[in-house]
C-alpha cells in the first residue's frame, strides 16, 4: 500500500506508472504547448495584442504633452478631434485629461497612456456591446504607446478600474467613433 503518510517502500522511482496517468500527462503537456504556441501566434496573426513601447516621463512632462495635444486638436461639441494619429490620455484623480475624443472608424491611432498622480486603469467598452471591452494598466512616470483601430462607429465608454482613491468610481469619459 502506498500511503502519503509513510515512507514509500523500495525503489519507488522505478515503479511503473498507470497507462492512463501517462496518457493524461502527455495530453496536459501537449495542451500547455498549444496554449504557448497560440499566444505567440496571435502576436503575428491576431488583431488584439496589448503591446507597445513604454517611455520614462515625469508626470509634469506628460501633462505638457497632453496640453499640447489638446491645443492642436479641434474642439467640438462631442470632444476633441485629434490633429493627427496621436491621442494623449492623461489619467488623474479623478478624471481623464485629453478625453473625450472623436475618432474615425478604420483609422489607426496611437494612444499615449500616462498618469499625473497614482496608478489608474484604462478600461474601454463599446456601449452597443459591453462584452467588447478591454483594460490596460496606467502607471505614473511612464508613457505607454498602444495602437488602436476602432472599426465599428459607436460610443466607447472609458472608466477607471484601478482603485485610485475615494473618487475612483467617478472617473468616466468617452471615445466617439464616427463612420
Amino acid at each position: 500500500m502506498d500511503s502519503p503518510l509513510d515512507e514509500p517502500e523500495g525503489n519507488w522511482w522505478d515503479e511503473a506508472v498507470n497507462r492512463r496517468e501517462t496518457l493524461w500527462i502527455a495530453l496536459s503537456a501537449g495542451w500547455a504547448l498549444s496554449l504557448f504556441g497560440w499566444m505567440i501566434g496571435w502576436t503575428e496573426f491576431g488583431d488584439q495584442n496589448n503591446v507597445g513601447q513604454t517611455y520614462s516621463i515625469t508626470p509634469d512632462e506628460f501633462q505638457t504633452k497632453v496640453a499640447d495635444f489638446k491645443d492642436r486638436a479641434e474642439d467640438t461639441e462631442r470632444g476633441l478631434v485629434p490633429a493627427d494619429e496621436d491621442v494623449y490620455v492623461g489619467a488623474l484623480q479623478w478624471g481623464w485629461d485629453g478625453l473625450p475624443v472623436v475618432l474615425e472608424a478604420g483609422e489607426t491611432y496611437r494612444f499615449h497612456l500616462g498618469s499625473y498622480d497614482v496608478q489608474h486603469g484604462f478600461s474601454v467598452r463599446n456601449e452597443e456591446n459591453l462584452s467588447q471591452q478591454m483594460s490596460l494598466q496606467i502607471l505614473p512616470d511612464y508613457e505607454w504607446v498602444v495602437e488602436m483601430e476602432f472599426d465599428e462607429p459607436s460610443t466607447y465608454h472609458v472608466v477607471c478600474n484601478e482603485f485610485c482613491g475615494n473618487g475612483h468610481r467617478s472617473m468616466h469619459s468617452t471615445i466617439h467613433v464616427e463612420g
Binding site: W13, N49, N50, V51, L130, M134, F150, N166
Partner: protein, 572 residues
C-alpha cells in the same frame, strides 16, 4: 494548550493517533492548535466584513457609502486572503513536518515568537485600515504606490511577513534534523508536499519584505520616491506568491484527507513528487501574469513568464488533478469500495464533512479556479479580464471554494484528531460544505460573467450609478441579483463552519477514534498489502472525469479567444 483537548501524552510528550497512526508530540500539537484557532478567528472577522462587501456590490441593497466600501473591502481581503490562509498554512507545515515524521517541533520558542509577531502584525494592519483617514487611503490588498496608505499599515504588513518567516523556521529545522538522522530515508509524500510549500512560502515572504520594507521607508519619507512598476513586480511576488502557498498547502491537504477519510493511496510517488518539484521551479514566476496588461515590462518578458514558466506550473496542477482522484479510485477499488466507472466515488462517505469538503474543493478549484487562472494568464486574453470583477471571481474560485473549503475539511479533522472532540451539531456539519461550496460556486460564476461579458470593474461600489454620466452597467443587474443571493448563502455556509467548530470545542463529546469515513482503519493504513500494486488498479473513472475537465478547459479557452477576437484592433 487551551485545555480543550481530550488527549493525554506519554512521559516523552508523545501520543499515537488512533486514526492516522501518527506519533504526535505535544510541542507541535500545541502550536497547531494555536495557529489553527487564530486562523479560524481571522476567517470569522473576514466573513463578517464579507457581508458588507457583498451587500454593497449588490446595489439593490447598496449598504455602504463608497468611502466605507474601500475600508471594509480592505479588511475583508487582508483577513481572508492573508491572515486566515497564512496562520492555517503554518499549522499545516507543523502537521506536514513534525506530525507526519513523528518528531518534536524543533526550535519551539521561534514558533511562539513568530506567532506573536504575526498576531501583532495582523492586529496592526486591521487597526491601521480601520483608522484610515485623509490623506491616507484604504490599501485594499495591493496598496499600489504611489497611492498612500498609513505608515502603520506598511509596518503591520512588514511585521506580519517577518513573523511568518520566523514561524516557518521551526519547520525547516525539523526537516533538517530528520535528514541528519535519516539521510537515506525518503520523506512521506505529505511531508514532501509540505516541504515544497515551505520553499515557495519562503520565496513569497522574501518578496513581502522587498515590498513592504521599501514602501514603509517611502511612506516615512526616508525614500523620496518608489517606482510604481518596481513596486508592482515586488508586490506580486508576495501578492500571488502567498496564494501559491495556499495552492500547495491545499494540494497537500487533498492528499492527506483523501487518504485518511476516503482510503486513497498514492497513484505514483514519482509523478506526484515531480509535480511538486515543477511548482518549486515555476510557480512563482507564473505570478508575472499580474503584469500582462502593464506597460514597462517587455513582450518577451511577459511571454516567457506566462508560457515557459507558468505552463510548467500548469502542468504540475494538471498532474495533481489526475493523481489525487486516481489515488482515491485505486485505493477504494483495492478495498472493494466500488465497481463500475464511478462506484468508488458515489460510494464515498459523503456525509463526512471532511470528505465532502475535500472533494468539492478539488472539483470547484479545478473547473472554476484553475481554468480561469490559465486563461487570464495568457497575455492577450488578460486584456479582457484585467481588473474586472472576473478577477475576484477567479480568486474566490481558487481561495474561497478551493483552499478555504479544503482547510475547512482539514479543520473538521483537526477538531477530531487534534482536539479529540466529536463534532457537535452533526447534521449542520454534514450539509455545511455543500451549502458553502455550492453557493460560493454560483457566486463566483456570476462575478466572472459580470466581469468578462459586461466589463464590470472590480473595486467599484456603484457600477449601476457612475457620477456625472448616464452610462452604467445596468445590463449586468440580473447577474448581480444572483450574485447577491449566492454571496449571502455562502457567507451563512461559512459562518456555520465557525459555529460548528466553536460548538465542538466547547461542548463536543470525546472522539472515540476510528472508523472515520467509511473505512476500518486497519485496512486504510495498509494492514494488508495483498492486493496488486496501485498502478495496476483501474483508473478509468478518473480518466473520464479528467477528460470532461479537459473538454471544458478547451471550450472555455476557445470562447474567451472568440470574445477577444471581436474587440477592435489593439497593438501593432
Amino acid at each position: 494548550m487551551f485545555g480543550r483537548s481530550t488527549y493525554d501524552y506519554d512521559d516523552d510528550g508523545f501520543r499515537r493517533c488512533s486514526v492516522t497512526g501518527l506519533d504526535i508530540h505535544r510541542s507541535a500539537e500545541d502550536m497547531v492548535k494555536l495557529y489553527g484557532l487564530t486562523a479560524i478567528l481571522a476567517l470569522a472577522v473576514g466573513g463578517v466584513f464579507a457581508v458588507f462587501v457583498a451587500l454593497t456590490r449588490w446595489e439593490v441593497v447598496g449598504l455602504l457609502s463608497p468611502g466605507d466600501f474601500y475600508t471594509y473591502l480592505s479588511i475583508h481581503a487582508w483577513n481572508l486572503l492573508i491572515f486566515w490562509m497564512v496562520f492555517m498554512e503554518i499549522a499545516i507545515l507543523y502537521v506536514g513536518g513534525p506530525f507526519v515524521l513523528g518528531r518534536k517541533l524543533a526550535l519551539p520558542s521561534l514558533a511562539k515568537a513568530g506567532y506573536v509577531a504575526m498576531l501583532a502584525g495582523a492586529v496592526t494592519v486591521n487597526a491601521a485600515i480601520w483608522l484610515t483617514s485623509y490623506p491616507n487611503n484604504a490599501p485594499l490588498l495591493t496598496s499600489y504606490v504611489p497611492l498612500e496608505s498609513s505608515w502603520q499599515f506598511y509596518l503591520g504588513a512588514l511585521v506580519f511577513v517577518l513573523g511568518a518567516i520566523v514561524a516557518a523556521l521551526p519547520f525547516f529545522a525539523t526537516m533538517w534534523r530528520e535528514k541528519r538522522e535519516n539521510p537515506n530515508a525518503t520523506l512521506p509524500l505529505v511531508a514532501f508536499g509540505a516541504f515544497a510549500t515551505s520553499i515557495i512560502a519562503f520565496e513569497a515572504l522574501v518578496g513581502g519584505v522587498l515590498t513592504y520594507g521599501p514602501a514603509l521607508l517611502w511612506r516615512l519619507e526616508i525614500l523620496a520616491t518608489l517606482d510604481s512598476a518596481f513596486y508592482r513586480q515586488m508586490y506580486w511576488i508576495i501578492g500571488h506568491g502567498s496564494q501559491q502557498i495556499n495552492l500547495l498547502a491545499m494540494i497537500t491537504v487533498w492528499y492527506f484527507i483523501t487518504h485518511v477519510v476516503g482510503g486513497a493511496e498514492v497513484a505514483s510517488q514519482k509523478v506526484s513528487r515531480t509535480a511538486f518539484v515543477l511548482y518549486i521551479f515555476f510557480i512563482n514566476m507564473g505570478a508575472a501574469h499580474h503584469l500582462m496588461s502593464d506597460p514597462v515590462v517587455s513582450t518577451g518578458w511577459r511571454m516567457w513568464n506566462t508560457s515557459y514558466a507558468a505552463y510548467g506550473a500548469v502542468l504540475a496542477s494538471m498532474i495533481h488533478a489526475f493523481a489525487i482522484p486516481a489515488g482515491l479510485e485505486a485505493g477504494r477499488r483495492a478495498k472493494g469500495k466500488g465497481g463500475g466507472l464511478f462506484g468508488w466515488l458515489w460510494s464515498g462517505p459523503w456525509d463526512d464533512p471532511g470528505f465532502s469538503a475535500t472533494i468539492l474543493s478539488i472539483v470547484l478549484f479545478g473547473f472554476l479556479g484553475g481554468i480561469t487562472g490559465v486563461m487570464m494568464g495568457q497575455m492577450q486574453l488578460n486584456m479582457t479580464w484585467h481588473n474586472t470583477l472576473a478577477v475576484p471571481g477567479h480568486f474566490h474560485a481558487t481561495v474561497a471554494t478551493g483552499t478555504t473549503l479544503a482547510f475547512m475539511g482539514l479543520g473538521y479533522y483537526v477538531l477530531r484528531l487534534v482536539f479529540g472532540r466529536e463534532w457537535s451539531l452533526g447534521p449542520i456539519a454534514k450539509i455545511q460544505p455543500f451549502l458553502y461550496g455550492g453557493a460560493m460556486g454560483v457566486t463566483v460564476v456570476m462575478m466572472m460573467y459580470a466581469g468578462v461579458l459586461f466589463g464590470v470593474p472590480r473595486r467599484h461600489p456603484t457600477v449601476m450609478d457612475i457620477p456625472g454620466t448616464e452610462f452604467s452597467f445596468e445590463a449586468a443587474a440580473p447577474f448581480f441579483a444572483i450574485f447577491g443571493v449566492g454571496a449571502l448563502v455562502s457567507i451563512v455556509g461559512g459562518a456555520l463552519f465557525v459555529v460548528v467548530a466553536l460548538a465542538t470545542l466547547f461542548t463536543g463529546d470525546e472522539f472515540e477514534g476510528g472508523p472515520v469515513g467509511d473505512l476500518s482503519r486497519t485496512v486504510a493504513d495498509g494492514g494488508g498489502s495483498d492486493h496488486e500494486p496501485v498502478h495496476e488498479q483501474s483508473m478509468r473513472g478518473t480518466f473520464v472525469l479528467t477528460l470532461v475537465f479537459f473538454a471544458t478547459f478547451v471550450v472555455l479557452t476557445a470562447l474567451n479567444w472568440y470574445l477577444l477576437s471581436n474587440i477592435w484592433g489593439i497593438g501593432p
